[in-house]
């Protein structure tokens, strides 16, 4: 097959460019959207091309920013809002949960507030407790929002377009920092939405965002070393979860690992376990294994970060644990800590 590479970052830029170019009513607003860094490069050049009445540099005032987006949407425009860290969105939760999520419902369908909100989540370089949080669970608990976590350049591109063309309410795209520099072979596969990212028969790994890539890395490792066949599901949409795809997989494997960037407690992992147990009660042969950060704030020191952020090494461990009754590290190949660390530094695709 042909190859064409695109970074996640460039995919975000291209997708926003397309929305701005194809729909006159699209407006981009956020802190740093017009600066020389351009939200990890994703907004570079847009203000120059579309002008300062399409692209707005915003004050440091997140509550009003979200409310202004609602007003723009109510009055006929389609706002795209950016947050350089999802942590800052906690300042606008009142607008998002008490207004945006409810507008359509509470007015009985009279009003709708379609919009796209992009927010950056996740690790890298000692971001610490206030610059690294994954808030998908909070945004998904309350009805009314659509929350997505695109795991690839292709997913992201399709999702932005879907948000614009098909969704009648706010869509929140949570984008993992480390993904921006990863590149993807966009000719390779073109999944959109919840999808099986790798077919397999022994164990099901349900993953979100960058954890999809971690899961694929783990799947490759255990296949190479022990011919274990993992099915990897890219959950993609966190609200209104596509549980059938998981249930179908469990019918084959009866074993599940859930890998998410957020806490398991009241998180995606808990919600998935609920859905699996409610809709596929007898399918699980063993308790689910969960790969998430432990329940503490993010520590800054890299010495602690390595125990905090879940890695593909941990997924490998869980795979063995589920499949091998008396798992023994000495007989089964484990990636060394440095192998895992290197994979982050060096290998950025193409996937």
């Amino acid at each position: 097959m042909e190859q064409e590479y695109l970074t996640y970052k460039e995919s975000a830029r291209r997708s926003m460019h397309a929305l701005l170019a194809n729909f006159d009513d699209t407006i981009l607003l956020g802190q740093g959207v017009s600066d020389p860094i351009g939200i990890f490069g994703t907004t570079l050049g847009l203000i120059k091309e579309f002008g300062s009445d399409r692209v707005f540099e915003m004050p440091i005032a997140e509550e009003s920013m979200a409310g202004i987006a609602i007003g723009l949407s109510l009055n006929g425009f389609y706002p795209i809002q950016t947050h350089i860290r999802a942590d800052f969105m906690l300042l606008s939760l009142n607008q998002l949960i008490n207004s945006a999520a409810k507008y359509r419902y509470m007015y009985g369908g009279m009003y709708e507030v379609p919009m796209l909100i992009r927010a950056v989540i996740g690790r890298s370089w000692g971001q610490g407790p206030q610059h690294s949080q994954s808030i998908q669970s909070t945004l998904s608990h309350f009805p009314g929002l659509t929350v997505i976590m695109p795991s690839s350049a292709q997913q992201l591109e399709a999702a932005y377009l879907e948000a614009r063309e098909k969704r009648r309410g706010p869509v929140i795209s949570l984008e993992h920092r480390l993904l921006y520099d990863y590149s993807f072979n966009i000719r390779d596969r073109n999944p959109a939405g919840p999808t099986v990212a790798r077919y397999g028969t022994d164990v099901t790994i349900v993953a979100t965002s960058i954890m999809v890539i971690e899961a694929l890395r783990a799947a490759e490792w255990v296949f190479k070393h022990h011919q274990i066949s993992c099915e990897v599901i890219d959950l993609h949409r966190i609200t209104n979860i596509d549980i059938e795809i998981v249930i179908d997989s469990l019918k084959k494997t009866s074993l599940v690992i859930i890998a998410d960037t957020g806490y398991r407690e009241f998180g995606v992992a808990a919600e998935l376990v609920r859905l699996i147990v409610e809709q596929g009660f007898s399918l699980l042969g063993k308790p689910p294994e969960i790969v998430t950060p432990p329940h503490c704030p993010t520590p800054t020191s890299h010495a602690l970060e390595q125990f905090f952020y879940p890695t593909w090494g941990l997924i490998v461990e869980k795979i063995y644990k589920l499949l091998i009754p008396k798992f023994d590290v000495t007989t089964y190949a484990m990636p060394s800590r440095s192998t895992v660390a290197e994979s982050y530094l060096q290998f950025k695709g193409p996937f």
Partner: protein
């Protein structure tokens, strides 16, 4: 906007009638409240109607208005449909929101009532965003947002004044100052002068001391709206007024130990509705008939059913 070509006394009568109509509607709501046909909180504007009446008289149908849980007067003054409102208050499926909104969240897209929120201060940024939309669209739409004096405590108010002035948005901020936040005197929680605060943003500020005077309010609003429509940026209208009734519900808060009857009487003595029996007589039966009809409509409408519970979510 047709008001401009009618003569002064017609204009007075128009605004008088509009104020009286809202007063009577809310009095009726209060009087039937004990019947439990309205099973949700009501925040009445009785005493404050002139603010909405005066400002909305100067807005066109295409102009937009945003409000609060205390929204009946605004909704009606902006031209919202009385029947749809009454049915909504009664929780009926014929209400504008099929019963999902109730009294705290009035809206009518046909006349630009863009929503009322029960979170203090939260529609101020919506109006600011709608103003930005109008500016980008390049039409001459004006956006008005109504809020209480205590809503100005919220940080988002500051954030919006900043954004509105920065982009010279066509927004009229209308502060209905009844001096009260529920049962707390605003003075006990507020340490700034609105005039100075608003002026610090280079936003034009005007105060109306007598919030019963709908003509004066309309005149002030007219000047502001004309300038805003010309692209001269946001303005602020601060109207001092008095809510005769308690914060929520149909009763009074006199006797609670916060406000005195004398204070309310002082305002009532300035209230045109109490000073012109002839005009009241002229309009009252027509108004009452309209209200009767709306209540009948509400009464005879159906409630929403279980199947509607999960509609219009996302």
């Amino acid at each position: 906007m047709t008001l401009k070509i009618i003569n002064m006394s017609d204009r007075y009568e128009n605004l008088f009638r509009s104020t009286l109509r809202i007063r009577r509607i809310e009095e009726r709501i209060a009087s039937i409240y004990a019947s439990d046909r309205i099973q949700s909180p009501i925040h009445l504007s009785i005493g404050q109607e002139a603010v909405s009446v005066g400002v909305c008289a100067e807005l066109s149908k295409e102009d937009l208005a945003f409000g609060t849980y205390r929204g009946h007067a605004l909704y009606l003054a902006k031209g919202g449909d009385l029947r749809l409102m009454m049915a909504e208050l009664f929780g009926k499926v014929t209400g504008f929101a099929k019963g999902k909104a109730g009294s705290m969240h009035l809206a009518d897209s046909a006349v630009g009532v863009m929503g009322c929120s029960a979170i203090v201060g939260s529609t101020i940024p919506h109006a600011t965003g709608a103003g930005l939309a109008a500016k980008i669209a390049g039409n001459d739409q004006v956006v008005a947002v109504f809020f209480g004096e205590s809503a100005t405590n919220q940080g988002v108010f500051h954030e919006c004044l900043n954004f509105a002035t920065l982009h010279r948005l066509p927004v009229l901020f209308v502060c209905e100052d009844n001096q009260m936040a529920i049962h707390t005197l605003n003075a006990d929680i507020t340490g700034y002068s609105l005039r100075e605060l608003v002026s610090a943003y280079s936003i034009k500020y005007a105060a109306v001391e007598n919030g019963m005077d709908f003509i004066h309010i309309a005149n002030r609003a007219q000047s502001s709206i004309t300038r805003i429509r010309r692209g001269e940026g946001p303005e602020f209208l601060h109207v001092h007024t008095c809510r005769y009734v308690q914060h929520v519900g149909p009763g009074t808060d006199v006797g609670f130990g916060v406000r005195s009857e004398a204070l309310i009487n002082k305002w009532m003595a300035k209230d045109p509705l109490y000073l012109a029996d002839d005009l009241v007589k002229k309009f009252i039966s027509e108004i009452n008939a309209e209200i009767d009809e709306a209540i009948d409509f509400a009464d005879s409408s159906e409630f929403p059913g279980a199947s509607q519970l999960l509609e219009d979510i996302s």
